[in-house]
Symmetry: C2
């Protein structure tokens, strides 16, 4: 096992009706800004629950945060906060709203151009406190300190992390996710699944507990994902998806083990350049990454085949192939297509993707830091 530091102070309020408890988590005299997305929270009752929980409080609103939140939009919230003297944020929505709110929280106190937090890894030394009411199980942002923001003007989709931007609390009420369309549930399943794979499918590090916990999440997603798609109002199935997505990226399964993240880095460029949903890019890239990197990941692929998919027959080659095929089939089975051609993206797009990765310094990806532009080209060629 590798040395590690683990720290995650996010308070989770999980279950039916938990929105009613948020007032106790926010200072009584706070000037609160509710941040949200396209307005679905007004259609599905979540907005009303939040307003009711915060009755009598000093509440402002900022809507319109996009999927893959735009720097340009988020900076408008920063202006509003400074103008009104707001001192607590409440993100109500999915991972994009939570990610965007993390950036807003950090940008408020940042001196200089806040885009430097992502473009130049400028350190975040302070941030506004905030909580989250999560309405889409997928990104894990509700229980970690990472955030992905897109500069729309230049199509740069970049990541930052800082212990300053852990949510103070996150409400996870599975019922608030009942109204999500199947596409978003399928995306959430693929996103959570891939988060686990990035931290698990590398090389053996003699960390059996982390391995088994990762496999636990994968097996639960395989079991509960289809159930919750088939019956969106099955409370337990949805609750298990929600908790799995959170556990997939709260730092625990990645503690003390090598991590990959090749698929995510390539995926970010695909979203920035071609507008695919984040999870769609992962469903396309992950099977190809596993295939091209099979020699480097051999032992873990065999373990994955046996423990997650129960594949024990055939020679090693065959088991590895089967495991990758089953991964692809699972993504397809939850409604997320796994070929670039499914999204109208041709192989002629590869040079621009690689150029963007180079621009962002992503030229030595993966658990061995040896996924260079040539390897990325091979991976993308296989995504056709």
């Amino acid at each position: 096992m590798k040395n590690f530091a683990f720290y995650n102070p996010v308070k989770i309020l999980f279950g039916k009706g938990q929105i009613a408890n948020i007032a106790a988590e926010i200072p009584a005299d706070a000037k609160i800004l509710i941040t949200y997305g396209g307005g679905s929270i007004k259609a599905n009752g979540v907005y009303d629950q939040v307003k009711s929980a915060l009755a009598g409080r000093n509440v402002f609103e900022f809507g319109g945060i996009e999927p893959n939140p735009h720097l340009e939009t988020l900076l408008k919230a920063v202006e509003l906060i400074r103008k009104e003297g707001i001192d607590f944020l409440l993100a109500v929505g999915g991972g994009s709203v939570v990610d965007g709110t993390k950036f807003i929280a950090a940008a408020v106190f940042f001196e200089g151009d806040p885009w430097d937090i992502l473009a130049k890894n400028a350190p975040v030394t302070a941030a506004l406190p905030f909580g989250a009411v999560l309405t889409l199980p997928a990104t894990g942002s509700e229980m970690n300190d990472g955030s992905v923001v897109t500069k729309w003007e230049t199509k740069d989709k970049l990541f930052f992390a800082s212990s300053q931007v852990f949510p103070r609390f996150s409400v996870l009420d599975p019922e608030t996710t009942y109204s999500l369309p199947p596409r978003q549930i399928g995306n959430g399943i693929v996103d959570a699944y891939t988060h686990v794979m990035e931290q698990y499918l590398t090389y053996p590090a003699n960390a059996p507990l982390q391995d088994r916990m990762a496999e636990s999440i994968l097996k639960t997603l395989i079991e509960e994902g289809p159930k919750t798609l088939a019956n969106p109002q099955d409370y337990d199935a949805r609750a298990n998806l929600v908790w799995s997505a959170t556990m997939a990226l709260n730092g625990l399964i990645g503690a003390g083990v090598p991590q990959d993240w090749t698929t995510h880095m390539i995926g970010h460029e695909l979203t920035a350049l071609h507008g695919l949903d984040h999870a769609q890019t992962l469903a396309v890239v992950l099977p190809s990454t596993l295939t091209i990197r099979r020699d480097r990941k051999w032992q873990k692929l065999l373990q994955y085949a046996e423990r997650v998919w129960g594949i024990v027959d055939g020679d090693q080659e065959q088991r590895v192939n089967d495991a990758i095929a089953k991964t692809r089939n699972f993504f397809e089975s939850v409604g997320v297509r796994t070929r670039l051609s499914d999204y109208g993206v041709g192989l002629d797009s590869i040079p621009a993707i690689i150029k963007n990765l180079e621009k962002h310094g992503m030229t030595a990806l993966g658990e061995y830091e040896d996924v260079n532009p040539q390897v990325v080209e091979q991976i993308l060629a296989l995504c056709a």
Copy 2:
């Protein structure tokens, strides 16, 4: 899944050499009190590492905290803290030192008799901040907010919990545990294993991720426990035991599921009255609890048999029996005896144990709160 709140802000510093990093976790101007036990930290080099990490800091010491820490001893530390104006504690030792330090931290600010925190569930509204350097993998106290203290005068061993007494940080360096005698390693394995069983072996709650995570810890303990006993300086085996023991009781596997704790409550009285090690009481009581409560735990016993022990042959009755027998054999195999007679305790001791449980209000134990004194008597009779 049940509703739950999860909150655990303990920062974990895991791995070789991490003691060197504690200075950065403690305010520079703090008056620090190092709390410890019988002095083994002076023999095994941990004390020197801590002193070296805190060179130039204002450091006081308080040694002599016993296994099953005594109220009477801990109150002397409280006196010292008040006299010297100490404002940060550093527990260096095993679970008893950490538990004792939690009580000290809470007692310093408590108005009235601090024993009321345990005897009367008096609320803890403030506590001194503290960190921990863990030298014995077992109790999980290094990453939770619970503590068990014994009032020696009256032989009362009681529990309290408060979010005020989470450690600010805990150092888990597996190398600091190399010098532990086999008895303490065996005890640690049994303690961690039983912590998992108390949160897992109840009734199905449709929480498959929590189940699988619990099974992950059990399987890792079964696999790595004997390895680390056979070769105490196998770094990875010891690291896996240490991390498993911490994960067994940091709140995660118990979130959203029913919990039992019958075995622990009976065990506490056995330690208080007869001086058995904590883990010895668990090794004695758990197999009997599972046997007497088999009907109430039937479904989970079958799941445990299959997933943890690979028992799939035979009828249900046989599988349940096998799983309980394997549990007992595992405890014996790591050197912890599982019969009251192994410790010279006869069945004539049962009435006093039950009387003590009644005195402490423990008359409706277990996940159904139906383990009354009559059921406890049956369990203890089977422990002979």
